[in-house]
């Protein structure tokens, strides 16, 4: 607990430059920021939760159609992207550690590589979207999914209407995930510039920590999206 008699001058003498006026001490500020990010991530879980809920219901109803539609997505691209994101989580952890231990070069390098991996992810995602677009798998007027066999049921074709629901969910879920990636890239660019100016020290590195939390969250969402969208009924 802060020294309660401390007011005005006393505070300013030992004021850390990054300590905002309304916090009693850096510890309180750090706790508040970190709790804030965790609470925010809880709201993000609910945001994606609505989508997962819709997905699970339709997948249960239209399993065969979903499996057929899922098979048309390039699993190799999805797997590569999974690997890319897992690597980026590692570099984020490195960045946090580097900030805490005052390793400036490592910090800048980790942040840069994280962004690079993020961009790679979005690039691969773009290639995948392009494929879907060329195959007329984008829901809308020109959507077509005729004569696609349901895996494991030779001679039985997927219902294009139900496949369209799958692709709608696919685009919304991966699209919103990609949007989160783009926001994450913005945050990391800001972190990189701040780190470049030497703002982070072993005493003050909360932004790296909570930026990292956000990045990990976006990764974890992908860890769920990948099997649900790419790996349905692949054993068949």
């Amino acid at each position: 607990m802060p020294d309660s008699t401390a007011v005005g001058l006393h505070h300013e003498e030992q004021h850390h430059p990054e300590l905002l006026h309304h916090f009693a001490d850096p510890q309180q500020q750090r706790d508040a920021s970190s709790l804030g990010m965790w609470v925010f991530l809880a709201t993000e879980i609910m945001f994606f939760g609505g989508l997962f809920c819709a997905y699970l219901i339709y997948r249960r109803w239209y399993f065969g159609d979903f499996a057929a539609a899922s098979k048309s997505i390039d699993m190799a691209l999805g797997a590569t992207n999974t690997a890319v994101l897992i690597c980026s989580s590692l570099t984020v952890v490195l960045a946090v550690w580097a900030a805490q231990t005052a390793r400036r070069t490592l910090l800048l390098a980790s942040l840069a590589i994280t962004m690079l991996l993020g961009l790679t992810f979005l690039g691969i995602k773009g290639v995948e979207y392009k494929q879907k677009f060329d195959e007329h798998h984008v829901p809308g007027a020109s959507f077509s999914f005729d004569h696609e066999e349901i895996p494991g049921h030779p001679g039985q074709y997927a219902n294009p209407a139900h496949a369209q629901i799958f692709f709608s969910l696919y685009f919304v879920m991966t699209g919103l995930h990609a949007l989160h990636m783009i926001i994450g890239l913005g945050i990391f660019l800001w972190l990189f510039l701040a780190a470049w100016r030497g703002r982070f020290t072993p005493e003050y590195n909360t932004p790296i920590e909570i930026g990292g939390l956000y990045w990990h969250f976006v990764d974890i969402v992908w860890i769920y999206l990948f099997p649900l969208l790419y790996l349905i009924d692949r054993h068949a």
Partner: protein
Amino acid sequence: MSMEIAIPKPVERENYLNKEYGVWSWLLTTDHKRIALLYLISITFFFFIGGFFALLIRLELLTPAGDLVQADTYNKLFTQHGMVMIFFFLIPSIPAVLGNFLVPMMIGAKDLAFPRINLLSWYLYIIGGVMMLHCMLIGGVDTGWTFYAPFSTNFTNSNFIEAGLAIFVAGFSSILTGLNFVVTIHRMRAPGLTWSRLPLFIWAHYATSIIQLLGTPVIAVTIVLVAAERGLHLGIFDPKLGGDPLLFQHLFWFYSHPAVYIMILPAMGVVTEIIACFSRKRIFGYSFVAFSSIAIAVFGFLVWAHHMFVAGMSVYAALVFSFLSYAVALPSAIKVFNWTATLYKGSIHYDAPMLYAFGFLGLFTIGGLTGLFLAALGIDVHVTDTYFVVAHFHYIMVGGAVMGYLGGMHFWWPKISGRLYPEGWARLAALIVFIGFNLTFFPQFLLGYLGMPRRYYDYSHMPEFQVLNVLSTAGATVLGVGYLLPMVYFLWSMRYGKPASDNPWNAAGLEWKTASPPPTFNFDEEPIVTWEAYNYEELDAPHKQEVPVAR
């Protein structure tokens, strides 16, 4: 001589209002109290827009024939009335104005944990509000505030996407306010202010924030899906593709039912403070009132499908949701009983805030008990989607939330503005609001049981409903006067009102231990709390009128 008199005048003391002047000192402020006032001005603006729509709706229903406006116009009126009142008035009302102003002060903090995010949430609200206004000006939306699929996705010709995005953006404002409150309440309490010493206003806001945080994202993603279905022709709720319109309703009500508690819980918090102060008593059963707020927040998430008993849901699901709806009624009942018990052996004053609290108590009781009718499956089939529902939720949201909001505005007005409002006028307004409200909405219960469906602009097929509709419209005009009055005398008092002392009500709570209006960082000295909440015993002790702020 004259100098000596001038210096100690309260208005000369530096406070959050006179510290800086100029537009930018307001638009770029990070002071939670100034942001609260920004919210106050903006939500009042939207309240009167929504109120104007309501008045037009009531005027149209004065006669059975659809003669004042056209059918589409009427549909847009009730849609925009609902959207504006819910998303741009009720949800931000108490949390963003009174909560913003008071939460840091009540817990002895200098500001909310994230002052810049607080400002951002006001700007998000304004962006959403401007989008909503723009949407109304270019033609409006006719989906109903519930925008059920597939009407909203594939059928309406109005610009739902913009209205949806407006709600989406305002929703993020609501999320960020909730986030700020949760973190502030967890991390910024003054030394000695344990959870069990918190004012119940704080508990109510804590519970509200949890709902805002966990519910709002779901409506956000639902809006994204509807907008994508409408704009990009995705198919998620489209029955033609095998999509399920009921899934939309589940997602929608998963937020929109708890949203009712976002509106009513803060009002309960306000009323708790007022009843304690004007009974000069510690609140009866403090921990039961505190935990009933949390219980409402938790159970509130489990009852959404009671809006869907005739929607085509399984009978067994209906059974479960009916049961849970009775479970959520209990904590509300407990609150009412505890408020009533607080009056026992009190020393009750009848100032305007207390009159509003009495009004709240009465109207909320009626609103809550009619909820029991709607939760009863057999009756719900008959009265759902009729005026019975309209009356019920207006008793909760207008009779409850708005009464609480007005009570709170009167109670804390001396703290906010540093001036006293005219007490006589305020009591008169409270009376007018109470009478006008009952006259407007009580007849609607009768209309509902008679079977008048909601959202009908023309009832010439059933002219027997006219008498009750005329009563309701008459009540609405009275209610309108009741709502205009406080705005007039609050504005008047800002210039002509008597300067308020630091604690005009001799009330408990840290917010009364600082100046009126408070300085920018709320307290000249950081308070240390050594007393329990609602220590009216000490406050009213014969030889001790002031408890020291800090020691």
